[in-house]
């Protein structure tokens, strides 16, 4: 009885918080594009606006993608319905910024000059990696609706696991676009390396074994602390 009462009294509070988190994530994800727009129209986008806009949208897309990857690991350690829909939402925003990033590069920067773009893409590994990652994100975005989820059944999960491949390709895309050498760790590599470490860490949290072990550990800690609480209350 008392348990039921508790869950009743917590529910509205929880769903309020859930709404706040939901709207917070929407606002947080929309702010960068608004700032970009304001900077662009007030001539505040550096001396080289198009390149800056390309880099900024790329940065935001990558940050959102890493946050998307972080949702599931957070749920491993802390089961909550507060983050309901968060993974899909952040993932779609990451895809949105990727599209803006590509639009700026292909249309605003190179004016769809395929004579220059096609040889460039074929020459540069970082562009090939970026485009493969985009295709993965595109497939995921299209199939992100419930209808596809049901239709693809098991394959949906398989397809959406490719997000890790996409993340790794995007980080390589980022690292190789910097002036430097990733094999010898020379040049502008602090940020790509940081993203790389975070992504690999999140990826390592994913395998089932790790998840089960983590869940077991968390439960053990909880049960120990509840036992201690019980003892205290006695």
């Amino acid at each position: 009885m008392s348990e039921e009462k508790q869950s009743h009294s917590y529910k509205p509070k929880d769903s309020n918080l859930q709404e706040i988190i939901r709207w917070g994530s929407h606002i947080g994800a929309v702010i960068p594009i608004l700032v970009l727009g304001v900077d662009y129209f007030t001539n505040n986008l550096t001396a080289n606006p198009i390149q800056t806009a390309t880099q900024r949208t790329g940065d935001v897309a990558l940050i959102l993608l890493v946050l998307t990857l972080a949702v599931t690991p957070v749920l491993i350690f802390y089961q909550t319905n507060l983050l309901k829909g968060m993974r899909k939402r952040l993932g779609l925003y990451a895809f949105f910024y990727t599209c803006v990033h590509l639009f700026i590069f292909f249309v605003l920067d190179y004016g769809l000059d395929w004579n220059q773009l096609i040889p460039l893409i074929l020459q540069k590994l970082y562009l090939i990696f970026g485009l493969i990652a985009f295709i993965i994100l595109l497939a995921m975005a299209i199939t992100s609706f419930q209808w596809w989820k049901k239709k693809l059944a098991k394959n949906w999960k398989r397809l959406h696991r490719l997000v890790y491949l996409a993340a790794i390709l995007i980080i390589l895309h980022y690292a190789l676009a910097q002036k430097g050498d990733i094999l010898f760790l020379r040049g502008n590599l602090i940020l790509p390396i940081t993203y790389g470490i975070i992504t690999i860490f999140l990826l390592l949290l994913r395998p089932l074994m790790v998840r089960k072990a983590a869940r077991w550990l968390v439960q053990e800690i909880r049960s120990i602390s509840t036992k201690r609480d019980l003892r205290k209350s006695k």
Binding site: Q51, D109, D113, L120, A177, Q178, K179, D181, R186
Partner: protein, 317 residues
Amino acid sequence: MIIKSIDPKTPKSSEITPEFEYINRRRFFGRAGAMVAAATLAACAPKLVPGTDLLPTDIPTYMDELGNKATNFTYIANYNNYYEFTTNKEAVAMVSAKFVTDPWSVEVGGLVNKPMTLGLEDFQKGYTQSERIYRHRCVEGWSMVIPWLGFSLSDLLKKVEPTSAAKYVSFETVFRPDQMVGQASSFYPWPYTEGLRMDEAMNDLTTLATGIYGKDLLPQNGAPIRLVVPWKYGFKSIKSIVKITLTDVEPPTFWDTIAPELYGFFSNVNPGQQNSIRSQVTERRIGENPRIPTLLYNGYDPKVGSLYTGMDLNVYY
């Protein structure tokens, strides 16, 4: 002739910008310097260095020999690749504001008969400074047109009398990590070094610059003295030089040491180059929008093309 002698009809930049405003700008810099700690903030919201907009901009008489208008000074002073300070181009002006350029001395030695150490006064008094409006092409795919004030490196080299064994000239930037915070990063082989072949160094276009738009160089532009090699990518134009050494072997250079597959010793501007990160086919001129075609040797082919006859630019990149 590319070296532009100052036409008496042309308004001098000092006439356009009253001296008091220039001094006032310095005071602004002092204040900006106090905010070096805010440099990280500047990285998030880059702001133009206050006061630089007081300097002449868009003066139609500032044009290169192909008729390209010189780039707005605000851009030249606020969009800088100077990794010794920060890799954030918009923050260099802020982070470099407190850089001390006086006193300064440059050691010229190596395979020469008359090694010397020169102070800034020696450069200003001993060499005729002329205005040289050159295109500046960055390997990242952007370019500017910059009215430098300077003299040919060959004027200096003739005075030190290179021996017959001298085949190359190597240059070194000051190493001062207390003032140049970027030099703390171990991802780069500090100090910055560059090099030229003897015939490249002796070419009239190769300039030692001490000013821009008729004024002393600002720290973010390589004060107090820097190299300008207009037919090569910008990174060859080494800044804040303290050492010039004549050698008989090809000297190591900063970017070639970091990524030899991307950046070579020659690094001539070449639209046909395929091994760099960005496309070299076109470039974006700062302050203008559509991309423009990149010219071989940055358009200085008539002056420097003969230096490379018979060389495959894809091998000697």
